[in-house]
Point group: C2
């Protein structure tokens, strides 16, 4: 059993936030977005780096760093740059993108950046990619979210060729044109850094398996739904004639260690509020677009049944439930914002799975 981290950093983390991923929701609560000042400090980045250095020492396997834009809370936008910095400050922890939203990037420049991180980290990049799911961000980029899928497919074809071609090649599509190029530096991991994709719907899970992607399972779904998705992906991998490696599936989970019932209620309520915020960000203002990156509409059910919130003993039991379903790799969402949480989980829960 391996445990990694999932989430982001902001320029204004505060101890009251269990997950900075959640904090992106805050700007949408304001009535007039244009009135929001830019955050002025950068302490969040330094705290984040320190937390990942600590996490490596405590035995965490990975950090998957989110990419978001235009949130107004100073959240990580240039995730491959922050991972590059971490590459210099760490030695063994895997460095993942969770995920890069490919439709917003130039595929060749992105491949070059990813390969550079892989070189500088000596082969530690887990290259998580996705098509994006937040309408507010697509509106900022002036890219129709309806085009996300086709843009993703086009860009990934080019990215795969960029990362794996040993010789010069040309690529021409409706949106991208490159002539007689070779993409450098060559990555350390061959043929390229592992590609990870988040998926939830059955057809998406099967496509991820058939495309050779490792799988990120989101932090929103209940255990039951998550384990069903795990099975669909595993079966699809095996149906394609490859051996299934459980380390190719990472399950993200909200987590809070509680010591008494009062703390439990606080943690569950906080989780409900954060799920509500994240649900809002994953649909358009008029609800004409709703992403699958959503929790169950019953927020209490989602907060209680979809997370690792509990006493250490309860968390160990919940991790065992996942393991009994085949899961060997869990990403703790937002745990990096609290060094104490990192230490407690490593000291009280990880030894049960050593």
């Amino acid at each position: 059993m391996k445990f990694g981290l999932f989430g982001g950093a902001t320029a204004e983390t505060s101890p009251s936030q269990s997950s900075t991923e959640d904090s992106t929701a805050r700007w949408q609560e304001k009535s007039d977005r244009s009135e929001l000042p830019k955050s002025e400090d950068s302490h969040g980045y330094a705290q984040f780096v320190d937390a990942i250095v600590l996490a490596e020492a405590l035995g965490y396997h990975s950090i998957f760093l989110v990419e978001h834009h235009f949130t107004g809370v100073g959240q990580v936008s240039a995730s491959l740059n922050l991972l590059t910095y971490l590459a210099a400050r760490t030695k063994t922890i895997r460095l993942g993108t969770g995920v890069i939203v490919v439709p917003w990037h130039n595929p060749v420049l992105l491949a070059e950046q990813a390969a550079t991180v892989d070189v500088l980290s000596q082969g530690r990049l887990d290259f998580g990619v996705g098509k994006g799911y937040r309408p507010g961000e697509f509106e900022g980029f002036c890219i129709p979210i309806e085009e996300a899928g086709e843009r993703f497919d086009d860009a990934m074809a080019l990215i795969r060729q960029s990362l794996s071609s040993e010789t010069r090649f040309s690529y021409h599509s409706e949106r991208w044109n490159f002539e007689d190029i070779v993409v450098e530096p060559p990555s350390v991991q061959k043929p390229h850094p592992p590609l990870w994709q988040a998926a939830g719907r059955p057809e998406s899970l099967k496509a991820a398996a058939e495309g050779g992607y490792s799988l990120l399972l989101d932090q929103f779904a209940t255990f039951e739904v998550t384990l069903e998705r795990f099975r669909i992906y595993r079966d699809a991998v095996e149906a394609s004639g490859r051996a299934f490696d459980p380390m190719n599936v990472a399950v993200a989970r909200g987590m809070a260690i509680i010591r008494n019932e009062e703390e439990r209620e606080i943690a569950v309520n906080k989780r409900m509020a954060s799920l509500n915020n994240m649900n809002q960000l994953a649909k358009s203002a008029d609800s004409s677009y709703v992403s699958s990156m959503q929790s169950d509409p019953d927020l209490r059910k989602a907060a209680e049944q979809g997370t690792l919130i509990g006493t250490p003993e309860e968390i160990i039991e919940r991790v065992r439930q996942l393991r009994n379903g085949g899961v060997e790799y869990i990403l703790l969402a937002g745990a990096q914002t609290s060094p104490q949480t990192l230490r407690d989980f490593a000291g009280e829960i990880m030894p049960a799975f050593a």
Copy 2:
């Protein structure tokens, strides 16, 4: 007097190369570019990082890192990522791009990356930008080099607004559309990291001064031409009503310390070959496009009169010539490829200007 470094790194540096910038030319010497294999090792990056750590300890002021693509020798493509890595490995040295070729990048993503490097380096980014000058690279990107100027102007307007706006804004042009965005993280340097531009022609020098850019003067021109460009820029800064700071002009120079006449002839011949290569890269195959990033066609004159090639005493005298013309900041092109050269220059030439 301050001394910095200018150049790049490749995945296959060898002791015989005085400047890795020069090495980009090699792929064009081959008759069939498509036959070139990708470089397989990444030692050049590690050597480069070690050299910059050493340079910081020796008192060098900065590194300006070039960006190139599709060269086939593994040269740095994702320069802001390598600078991010250096940000973690260094404490005081200025981290510059020399330059980012803006027409190839998404301006908002680029601004986010630059701001992230500025945050992670605690305000050490010198953001050098340019419109590009190598036809082969524009052909790879399938962008007409004739559009470089207008694309640069458009992108820089958006980048400046992205880096300095304290509130949300929208930007719409022929090529770029962003709606109600705020670009984060906020940079540490205010209102944004210093912008540097390479220029040579009188109208370009004046435009750089009027646009508030610091100035990179290329390594190709003779001392006479370089000092004339220096004066044009200085006069234009003062004509715009601002005080002129000589640290806002960095003069790049090829440099080699020689101990006898045999070494001088070797160094001059090597420089002539590298100038010839770089001149080829800066024009199109049919010479219909020729960049100003060219040496004098008399290569021996350019190699002897445009460089700091000589004994330590001769180099000190040549640096004094530049200083007498007002220059206070010199970038040594390619010196980072030889730790011994870094040490010798720091030990034998820098003390004369301490």
